[in-house]
Point group: C2
Chain length 341, copies 2
């Protein structure tokens, strides 16, 4: 996102025009991923003709699309040839192990974009125009897509989260992964601690994705499934650790406290709740990515938010936890909030 | 638009995430304009409650929307209060004479955004998915909206364009304004030269907007209308000056040459054609705004483009003009290209 560069510089309406046209960038990146442009740039000579052949597309279309990607900072152009930037090579070329191009399938879902057509109404009413509970309506199929496509964005967070949560702790432990989704966070705990037993909780069709990931990671013998809603199902016998990743932001403060009380009641003494969240600073406008996430919650939920650490700490306090601590994950917009029962 | 900041800095997927979510910025700015947020910020204390009252909106919605506008560089936040940036005060507050908030009505037209849902197909085929000639299909009603709402973006260009075109020339002259739209460019010539007589050419419903603007400017007695298509109607007796503003970019090179030949044939000896265009550098990726305009032409036309000066000069040469000259308009993405018959 861009700061206003007008201080001292000549005053132009460029920032207004750019923001009004910003939607083009979403669609340009989505189209480039669909057309496999980033693989073509990585493996070919990078001229318009070769990229167009690879993408089975017109040269006019490819030239204009690739120029646009350069302007958006997603490619470079050198003597008329398109080249990867460090970011596009790492995160957008399917031949990179860190490629996260699949996240476009979730982030550009029409169901998630459609509410923005009514954003003024949403701001008036203070809640999504989606029916029922919005994106967290029971059995909403978008969470299957989330589990299937957002893994590459979450995978780099799993290692650091595991280190923070385990803090070197070994030996047998039971872990509950609430709203497990792709399951990668619980699976990582099982990988870091060979005696950990993980229970993934989510809608049944979502858990099938998590189980498949557990199988790929070779930990399926220590992976159980608990299908249903975190608010309704019994968590079962107490756990050493309960993970709440990318979940609290969907709900209002009181609902979060209620859920955290249930979590607190399902932890062994000194057991630990680990929440992964977009946590903006107290000013709520920095850093840009966690702070901007509030908009996604405004558009898609009834009362969710990107909560500040102060708010998250207070939720935990009201739910009976000892004082919470914040552990920002380096080079990511996410923070782990830890609290002991 | 943002350069890749990753050189030297830690490599994060932030730029990928930001581009995929960029559409939110279009809708946030549109909603803020609809809710009159920028007027509220300019005239009130700038706290959430007062803006929400003015906008007749929820405090949750206003807080999240305004924080998002701060992140996008469209407002500032100071001790919890929202303040104008120099840009938002000038270009987004309706109490500013330079306010251009109305351009959102044209730029966010569903008809213009819809093709992006099919951008991969558009790139494959190299042309818009809109029917017929796309945005320049005869009598397309979007041009009435363009004429009505884009004036504030074009008005600051009119004075500089008039100076470049007239170059101090006084005395009687006939001016043809092709694709007149809002009519502001021809009207400005009539204002700068009290003996100029202007003929606006455009679809009849569009010309009604131009005529109303001529009336407001007090030059309607020197303003004639020539309704129809620039390709079909007879231009009539020869002109001293013919304006071609924001028009050539809709067509392919050969069509532009054909039209410029017709223009050449309708000019008096030493008469002058003045083209106003988004003109990118020869690299086609700078400056960002004129270069990015190619994407708009890819999405909405059959074969239009943001042409480089070299291309525009060659079109004029092939149409019989003397060598063209480029006159960039300061602090705008536009350039005037002048050529004499």
């Amino acid at each position: 996102m861009q700061p206003d560069a007008s201080a001292g510089a000549p005053l132009t309406p460029a920032i207004v025009f750019e923001n009004l046209q910003a939607y083009q960038r979403t669609f340009a990146l989505k189209a480039a991923i669909e057309l496999d442009v980033f693989r073509a740039v990585g493996q070919g000579p990078g001229d318009v003709a070769s990229i167009a052949r690879h993408a089975k597309a017109s040269e006019r279309g490819i030239r204009i699309l690739c120029d646009f990607l350069v302007i958006a900072g997603l490619l470079r152009k050198e003597n008329g040839h398109y080249r990867h930037t460090p970011s596009s090579a790492t995160f957008l070329d399917p031949s990179s192990p860190a490629c996260m191009a699949s996240i476009t399938r979730f982030l550009a879902l029409p169901e998630l974009r459609e509410p923005y057509e009514h954003l003024a109404d949403i701001v008036r009413n203070g809640r999504t125009v989606l029916p029922g509970e919005g994106s967290v309506e029971p059995e909403n199929p978008i969470w299957v897509e989330f589990a299937q496509s957002m893994g590459p964005m979450m995978a780099p967070l799993a290692g650091p989260l595991g280190l923070v949560v385990l803090q070197g702790r070994t030996g047998p432990m039971r872990v509950l992964d609430i709203a497990a989704g792709h399951g990668l966070f619980g699976i990582e705990i099982a990988k870091q601690n060979r005696q950990a037993h993980v229970t993934g909780l989510d809608w049944a069709p979502v858990l099938r994705v998590a189980l498949e990931n557990a199988r790929k990671a070779g930990v399926e013998d220590r992976y159980d499934m608990l299908p249903g809603s975190a608010f309704d199902v019994e968590f079962g016998e107490p756990y050493e650790t309960i993970l709440l990743t990318n979940f609290l932001h969907h709900f209002d403060f009181e609902t979060c406290v209620m859920l955290l009380k249930k979590v607190h009641g399902s932890l062994k003494p000194e057991g630990c709740a680990a929440t992964l969240e977009f946590v903006p600073n107290e000013d709520r406008v920095s850093p840009p990515l966690p702070a901007a996430f509030s908009m996604t919650m405004l558009a898609s939920t009834v009362a969710g938010d990107a909560y500040t650490f102060k708010e998250l700490a207070e939720m935990h306090r009201q739910a009976g936890f000892k004082p919470a601590t914040a552990h920002p994950i380096p080079m990511s917009p996410h923070t782990v909030v830890l609290a002991r029962a």
